[in-house]
């Protein structure tokens, strides 16, 4: 498996990646690589090849998932949340200063209705019917301190351009009376609408909206006199305007202040707060879109001394190309779906990055026992223990994330002990049994290899095909900025009583995380095995059924026969049970006994097993049945009974008789000789 061509392949795969220094610590490693001897280079490349196996596995899993996905990506909660954050919150207010000519008592109370015209009801040209979504209520002008305003959420910008979104209207209804509830508006009124298209076009121009900035605009609405009919469709869900003579005298204009912002604007990571000051406005939206989903992956190898770097777009996972909608989502996805790797996540103003390394503890425990064919091992072992491991992996990541989580508090540090304990426990469980992936033997490795390596290449060309130039610029800037760790250091220093504060305040983030990473890994790999052994030797274990003490060799051996049925004893008890019957002949008892013990040993449990069981039974006992015709007849009678109960089909019964005839013929042939 490992070898030079392979390594070359891997480097080619990561062809577009850069391996540049980011911090001083990184710089050191970079230099150390420069000092590598030829042998070390070779060893380093060899160590890179440990990525091949897990990557292949995930490619296989991914291709399986294409045919039968285990879940729908779009149903993931973080995806839904990320989508919701893109929606736009619009706040509408009517500033008094902009409408000096209007008398407040004339226009207020004012209803703001989000509605959609109902097209299929033709009511003549002077009529309009709207289906109502939401109704808001404005009572007076917006003054300086006090802000009667209505805020509501409309779909994200991309949706607004589609026909579905474009249909929305904001309707202002001014009605003289105040005495009724919003649900029952009727009578003479003035109304005007702000079509969403205009809002869309102005929002679309405002590129900074997607950066979380507010977009403010003024809109003018023409208010027409109208008669509002009582709603007649779905009770309150409909507005029915009967326009009166369109009269420029009676209609008036209102100036409305609109303020739009993305819903998720408040929860922004430091990465998002990057200022794009030096980027020309023409390319800005493009750059923003590209940048926001960019994630840097550093693949560590050669004892973490070296790394390869890759950038993916749209928060997509480098292994299975799934787009994860947000960095948080990517974190969940990686931890959940790619637990053969260790991940460290970190976000700074400059970039969001993931450090990847192969979990050596897992690959070691995958080593199989001698003479054990992994394909013959039962699957549930694997699934059972994988779940546990996944848990463990998550705690790993919680650990690793700590340096860059803002609420870096001492309670969390206090938690560390218990987490370590858990890790060790996890280590015990993972090392106690070999983990096997059925169907992924060496053969799979060989055959899958080519395709496995192809996929990332395709992916890369997709992401970088047209924008190659920009990206190159961009990564350049990231790589050359020397103070990546500043944010983290600041955050860590803010929390005083933390052990990591000491480690971090030195100069860079990396050494500490690496240190911690190395420590936890040592815990799970090296300590787990002797520890579990020590635990097992510490106390006496007993056989579950007979309560006899177990020798140490038995404790460590993988064989446990306690749950097995003792066939001799059960046969004996079965015979004794049959002996109790007084109205059954000896031959019948014999057939009953043979059948009972056959059924027990072969685990014939369901009705559907019966045809197979009959054939196998005939095959097994045919010779004896031929010798004793009385037994043979009992057996035939029994088959007829089964047939009566529709448990046995005629074809199988025929097969059984053919088998018996064959035996009979054989015995006849045998006799003359």
């Amino acid at each position: 498996m490992p070898g030079l061509p392979l390594v070359d392949h891997e480097t080619a795969t990561l062809g577009c990646s850069c391996n540049r220094s980011r911090t001083s610590g990184q710089m050191c490693r970079q230099q150390s690589r420069g000092c590598l001897t030829a042998e070390e280079e070779l060893a380093a490349e060899e160590s890179l090849s440990i990525y091949c196996k897990p990557v292949e596995l995930y490619n296989i899993l991914q291709r399986r998932a294409i045919r039968s996905p285990s879940f729908l990506q779009r149903c993931l909660r973080y995806k839904i949340l990320a989508k919701r954050k893109k929606r736009i919150q619009v706040t509408i207010s009517i500033p008094g200063s902009m409408n000096p000519e209007l008398q407040p008592q004339n226009i207020f109370p004012l209803y703001l209705v989000v509605a959609r015209p109902i097209a299929d009801i033709a009511l003549g040209e002077h009529a309009a019917v709207f289906g109502v979504y939401r109704t808001y209520f404005l009572s007076s002008f917006c003054e300086y301190g006090k802000e009667p305003e209505a805020s509501f959420v409309i779909p994200e910008i991309r949706k607004l351009s589609t026909s579905c979104g474009a249909n929305l209207n904001l309707i202002l209804v001014s009605i003289g009376k105040l005495s009724f509830t919003a649900a029952k508006i009727e009578g003479n009124c003035f109304w005007g609408k702000i079509p969403i298209e205009s809002l869309y076009s102005s929002l679309n121009k405002c590129v900074t909206l997607s950066l979380g900035h507010r977009a403010e605009m003024i809109s003018t609405v023409d208010m027409h006199p109208s008669n509002l009919k009582p709603s007649f469709l779905d009770q309150d869900k409909c507005l029915n305007f009967r326009n009166q003579n369109v009269d420029s005298v009676s209609s008036f204009k209102i100036h409305v202040s609109l303020c739009a912002q993305e819903v998720g604007a408040k929860e922004r990571s430091p990465y998002d707060s990057f200022s794009y000051n030096d980027i020309p406005p023409s390319t800005l939206p493009h750059i923003i879109r590209l940048r926001s989903g960019n994630v840097l992956f550093n693949y560590r190898y050669y004892n973490n001394r070296l790394q390869k770097t890759e950038v993916t777009e749209d928060f997509s996972c480098p292994f299975c190309l799934v787009q994860c909608a947000s960095f948080k989502g990517l974190r969940y996805h990686l931890c959940a779906c790619h637990d053969l790797f260790n991940f460290e996540f970190w976000v700074t103003e400059e970039y969001q990055a993931v450090n990847v390394s192969v979990r050596t503890d897992l690959s070691r425990s995958e080593a199989l026992l001698e003479g054990v064919d992994p394909r013959l091992q039962t699957f549930y072992f694997c699934s059972k223990f994988r779940r546990r491991i996944r848990l463990q992996n998550c705690t790993h990541n919680v650990n690793h994330m700590r340096p860059h989580v803002l609420e870096l508090d001492s309670p969390e540090a206090a938690m560390e002990g218990s987490e370590d304990g858990y890790l060790q426990k996890g280590g015990v469980s993972s090392s106690s049994r070999p983990i096997s992936y059925p169907g992924l033997g060496a053969a799979a490795h060989k055959s899958m290899f080519g395709e496995a390596q192809l996929l990332p290449i395709m992916h890369r060309s997709e992401s970088y095909g047209s924008e190659n130039h920009n990206i190159a610029d961009f990564t350049d800037r990231i790589a050359s900025s020397p103070d990546t760790a500043t944010f983290c250091v600041a955050a860590a220093q803010a929390s005083t009583s933390n052990e990591y504060a000491h480690a971090l305040s030195g100069s860079s983030l990396l050494p500490s995380t690496m240190l911690q990473f190395a420590r936890t890994r040592r815990l799970s790999v090296e300590r787990a095995d002797p520890r579990s052994r020590a635990l097992l030797t510490k106390r006496q274990f007993f056989h579950s059924h007979r309560a006899q003490p177990m020798a140490l060799a038995q404790v460590f051996s993988d064989h446990d026969s306690e749950d097995e049925v003792d066939d001799d004893i059960v046969d004996f008890e079965d015979r004794r049970m049959l002996d109790d019957f007084v109205d059954v002949t000896e031959d019948e008892k014999q057939i009953m006994h043979l059948w009972n013990s056959f059924v027990r040993k072969q685990r014939v449990l369901a009705d559907g097993h019966i045809p197979w069981a009959c054939e196998a039974f005939t095959q097994l006992h045919g010779q004896d049945l031929i010798q004793a015709p009385a037994l043979l007849w009992c057996w035939r009678l029994f088959m007829v009974k089964l047939w009566n109960h529709s448990l046995l089909d005629a074809r199988t019964m025929n097969n059984c008789n053919i088998i018996l005839e064959k035996y009979q013929k054989e015995s006849l042939d045998h006799k003359p000789n």
């Binding site: 007993f542 007979r546 309560a547 006899q548 177990m550 038995q554 004893i569 008890e573 004794r576 109790d580």
Partner: protein
Amino acid sequence: MAKTGLGCEPAVGSLTPSKKREYKVTNRLHEGKRPLYAIAFNFVDSRYFDVFATVGGNRVTVYRCLEGGLIAVLQAYIDEDKDESFYTLSWACDIDGTPFLVAGGSNGIIRVINTGTEKIHKSFVGHGDSINEIRTQSLKPSLVVSASKDESVRLWNIHTGICILIFAGAGGHRNEVLSVDFHPSDIYRIASCGMDNTVKIWSMKEFWQYVERSFTWTDLPSKFPTKYVQFPVFIASVHSNYVDCNRWLGDFVLSKSVDNEIVLWEPKTREQNPGEGAVDILQKYPVPECDIWFIKFSCDFHFNSAAIGNREGKIFVWELQCSPPVLIARLSHVQCKSPIRQTAMSFDGSTILSCCEDGSIWRWDAIQ
């Protein structure tokens, strides 16, 4: 319950002593304050017929009966666990004839003491709760059987330290097993009784190959394929309360409950239907003031007579094999007032020992 028809009433013994044999107290000693639960003569080895042992608390003591009513202390073993309380003991021996003392109690651990070397030979764990009685197979004295509170009876090979069979499961006892005994001539048969008011007779005929294998087993004892015997061959409901002692008398069974009597009955297994069979009650041996549980009787080597103590410290000696039963003697002493848990009759019945709850041992000798 057993049916009694006309002419089938059990013969009940009379409580007037026949004075056939008279006993007098020849010695009395106090072992301590703790109650003594068991006392037994060594019937396994003819060289040591005059040696007996007692258990009480965490202590096992070996004595010798000397001429003239004297008792000499030979050995005493103190269990390392201070809280251990031994309930039972039995004499046994290795296949080469080394005398062993097997004791068990509240800890559920069976201690096999080699009285030749004065060392613990083996300790058997396996029982889930305290051990109420241990008996030795006199035909193969390295086989012992133990009755436990964990509702099981286990057969052990003390030579190899193997738990051979477990008599428990679907047809087993439904409460503590208080007493167990080997059939004197049928090596496959044992009888057990307990707090579920039944006496169960078990056969290990089909399992005898495992008993034989246990003698030749060279691997670890815990690797031995211990088998469960789930179904007894006979279940008798002779008593309506706890059955705390049973012994074979030939093919008949002597058993006692808390009804002030020992009952001799015959188990009648039907050919067709093993399991629940009929019981024929033959004789009854009244024992007044014997209405508390865990009082056990003992017989001499030939089962000619049996001795049993009662709640008030009296001992009743019955002639077992005559009909109607004859009370040989009633032994009482003004200073013996506390309940007698167990008696021990010497090989020929000339000496009767009793161990009391107040920790005293009384020796009665027949007057020549």
